[in-house]
């Protein structure tokens, strides 16, 4: 090993011997984690430390005196050769290159990435080169792993099924993923740079701001309200649960927030569509139910029409005979008017029941529901032999329901009860309104009919299931759907003696203070 020159930067303190210095240099070179080589001006290896031995797979004895170019694979070998000629042989030494990444060649012929920094010793005619070489194999692997992880995170973000946005501390959108773009009906890029608070509808702005603030402050996770509405191209974006979290630096400073939410627009649309379909079905159901009552209704309207026509014709005959006193005519005209009003009232009653409409709830007394339906069936000749008994014990309990739809259900239950009893035999149908507890009110329709066979049981509530020859199998399925949509229940029990009782349980309204509408 040759003694290095004084240009290494170490200072030789006064009184220290060159020998001391030598020993210290030797120790540093031996202990260094990086390979340290000294190359003489002919390009031969002069110093080859243990780290270099490990790195290149040569013993120092093998390397020393050999050309340094053996440590470089083609094509670096030529470049190194040129470099050495220019800077050492040509004596142009002084330039100290920045560290550069090249490849090394091990004794076993394998190549590996290295970072080489060089310096020149002795700027005279025979300068020498000191090279410090770091093996990059491991750091390359780390970097690759990091890059891989980055790509993973990137893919997770980009392909997350939930709309996801990263947001800067000031509320600007940094990035948006594809799902977010779809949710907002634009490209993800267009969302970048938007102020997140501008994307939400005005009435929900404060809520979102508060959520982001609490996330930044490290408070427990904020969950959005039941539904938040954002603005988007061509309409409104309905958002369900929102979830936000803060990304912090090592020291805990919030760097950005990640906001993720559930797009419920479609679900809400389907919900609305379902409600509309249910309303339509209810309407069709009413048409069907009224169809069953058609004979009775036509009869009810025909009676006054018949009377009107006969009165009018009688007046004509009286006039023709010259036998029409003004008193008689006046009296008859009044009778005509009365009959016309009577027909009108029947139609009005029907129209209220049949009008195609959206579900519309109001606060009313349970007894009102029952009485209205009882009135409707009283015109049906088929009920003439039926003893319809109303026991309106809890009639005054208020409920918040859709009157027409609930009456439709009751009407259905009454018609079913009628069908279950052999018509000519007659019998009793009892409608009871009771209140089993504070929470609910119960309307029970009890018949003395043939009963529901146990093997059929709950199937009566299935769509398209019917035991009636002309039944569509719609009534009870629809009835249950209507009742459940209004927070109620519909079920039946077998009577101890004979027949069946259908029970319609509805939540009792607590405060009789105007109509409320909870979806």
């Amino acid at each position: 090993m040759r003694a290095p020159g004084s240009s290494t930067g170490a200072r030789v303190r006064a009184g220290e011997t060159v020998r001391d210095w030598h020993q210290r240099f030797d120790a540093v070179v031996r202990a260094a984690g990086d390979a340290i080589l000294v190359i003489d001006h002919d390009g031969a290896v002069e110093v080859f430390n243990p780290a270099a031995e490990r790195m290149f797979g040569y013993q120092a004895e093998q390397a020393l005196g050999g050309p340094v170019t053996m440590l470089a694979p083609v094509p670096y070998r030529n470049a190194l050769d040129t470099f050495l000629r220019n800077h050492l042989v040509g004596g142009a030494g002084a330039a100290t290159g920045a560290a550069r990444e090249v490849q090394g060649l091990r004794s076993d012929g394998s190549k590996f990435p290295i970072l080489v920094a060089v310096g020149f010793v002795g700027s005279g005619v025979r300068p020498e080169l000191v090279a410090v070489i770091r093996d990059l194999t491991e750091s390359r692997a780390v970097r690759a792993e990091l890059e891989e992880r980055d790509r993973g995170i990137e893919a997770t973000f980009e392909n997350a099924p939930l709309p996801t946005l990263s947001i800067a501390a000031d509320g600007r959108v940094l990035r948006a993923n594809r799902a977010a773009g779809e949710a907002f009906s634009c490209s993800a890029q267009e969302l970048s740079g938007e102020q997140i608070l501008d994307l939400v509808v005005a009435e929900h702005r404060a809520g979102l701001a508060e959520m982001l603030r609490s996330v930044t402050a490290g408070e427990p996770l904020g969950l959005g309200g039941p539904e938040w509405h954002y603005q988007r191209r061509g309409g409104e974006l309905v958002v369900g649960r929102s979830h936000a979290s803060a990304v912090r630096s090592g020291s805990g400073e919030p760097l950005m927030m990640v906001l993720q939410f559930e797009d419920r627009t479609e679900r809400r649309r389907i919900g609305q569509e379902l409600a509309r379909v249910r309303d339509d079905l209810a309407h069709v159901g009413r048409l069907g139910t009224v169809g069953e009552l058609a004979t009775g209704i036509a009869h009810e309207i025909n009676q006054p029409l018949t009377a009107i026509s006969s009165y009018a014709q009688a007046c004509r005959f009286l006039i023709e005979r010259g036998d029409a006193s003004p008193e008689k005519l006046g009296e008859t005209l009044q009778k005509i008017t009365d009959s016309a009003r009577r027909a009108g009232a029947v139609i009005e009653h029907l129209r209220g029941f049949l009008r195609k409409r959206e579900s519309e709830r109001s606060l009313l007394e349970t007894g009102e529901l029952v009485r209205g339906v009882a009135q409707l069936v009283s015109v049906d000749p088929r009920f003439q032999n039926i003893d319809l008994e109303l026991d309106l014990g809890a009639a005054s309990v208020p409920v918040i329901v859709d009157r027409v739809q609930l009456q439709q259900v009751l009407l259905n239950l009454l018609l079913n009860a009628l069908d279950a009893m052999e018509r000519d035999q007659g019998g009793r149908i009892t409608v009871t309104v009771s209140q089993p507890d504070d929470q609910q009110v119960l309307i029970s329709v009890r018949d003395q009919g043939i009963g529901i066979p146990p093997e059929i049981g709950e199937r009566v509530f299935e769509s398209f299931f019917s035991t009636k020859p002309a039944g569509m199998g719609f009534g009870l399925a629809l009835s249950r759907s209507i009742v459940e949509a209004q927070g109620g229940r519909l079920w039946f029990t077998k009577n101890e003696d004979r027949g069946t009782t259908f029970h319609l349980g509805l939540p009792a309204a607590v405060r009789p203070t105007g109509p409320a509408d909870q979806p």
């Binding site: 004979t295 009676q303 006969s310 007046c315 009778k335 009959s339």
Partner: protein
């Protein structure tokens, strides 16, 4: 509108026929009565089948205008009851919508007509007139047959034998040989039969024989 039955003017004096109206609907009943009154028909009206049955006697002539659907005893049931008691009153049913099957049943049970509400008044009146006419004819026919039956009852057993044989168109000679009597005896019986039956001609006697056969 008043429920108690109301008597109409005795306008159809010739026959004394009455239109009986049974309908539970006050307005329909009242307007129908006024219509009948306006054309001068005698009528009586009842709000239920039971009330009509209480008041009606089989010899009351006329026709019945009957609502098919009524609480309590229906029109069909009333018709059956009338058939049971042998009342010959013709029945015109007035039906509500969709009662055609019931009307068919009523026609099978002998109703003369049925009309659907709201009916054409003139048509109803025409049918009422036709029914009244029919009832009058039928009653006269019955009266006449009753008379013939009574005359026939006055014949002696031998005269009845002669009557039965001559209305078959058998000449006196054949009758005489059938009965094993002289032709002269047959001639005497024959003239007694003509006399007792008050027959103006042999053809008249034949007619009476046919009426008797119908009735038996």
């Amino acid at each position: 509108m008043n429920r108690p039955q109301s008597a109409g003017k005795p306008a159809d004096r010739d026959t004394g026929a009455t239109v009986f109206v049974v309908d539970d609907d006050d307005a329909v009943r009242d307007s129908l009565c006024m219509l009948l009154e306006s054309v001068g028909l005698r009528y009586r009206s009842y709000p239920s089948a039971a009330e009509f049955l209480l008041a009606y006697k089989p010899d009351h002539a006329g026709c019945l205008v009957l609502d098919i659907r009524m609480p309590g005893m229906s029109g069909i049931e009333l018709q059956e009851r009338l058939n049971e008691i042998g009342a010959i009153l013709p029945v015109i049913f007035i039906t509500g919508h969709g009662d055609v099957p019931l009307a068919v049943k009523a026609m099978r049970a002998g109703a003369v007509d049925f009309l659907q509400k709201p009916y054409n008044e003139q048509e109803l009146l025409d049918r009422i007139h036709r029914a009244l006419q029919g009832d009058g004819d039928r009653r006269r026919e019955l009266l006449e047959r009753d008379l013939i039956v009574r005359r026939h009852g006055k014949l002696t057993p031998r005269e009845r034998e002669v009557f039965d044989l001559i209305v078959q168109g058998k000449p006196n000679k054949v009758v005489a040989s059938d009965l094993g009597v002289s032709q002269r005896t047959v001639e005497i019986h024959r003239s007694r039969v003509m006399e007792k039956m008050e027959a103006t001609s042999f053809a008249h006697l034949m007619n009476m024989a046919m009426l008797l056969q119908e009735g038996s």
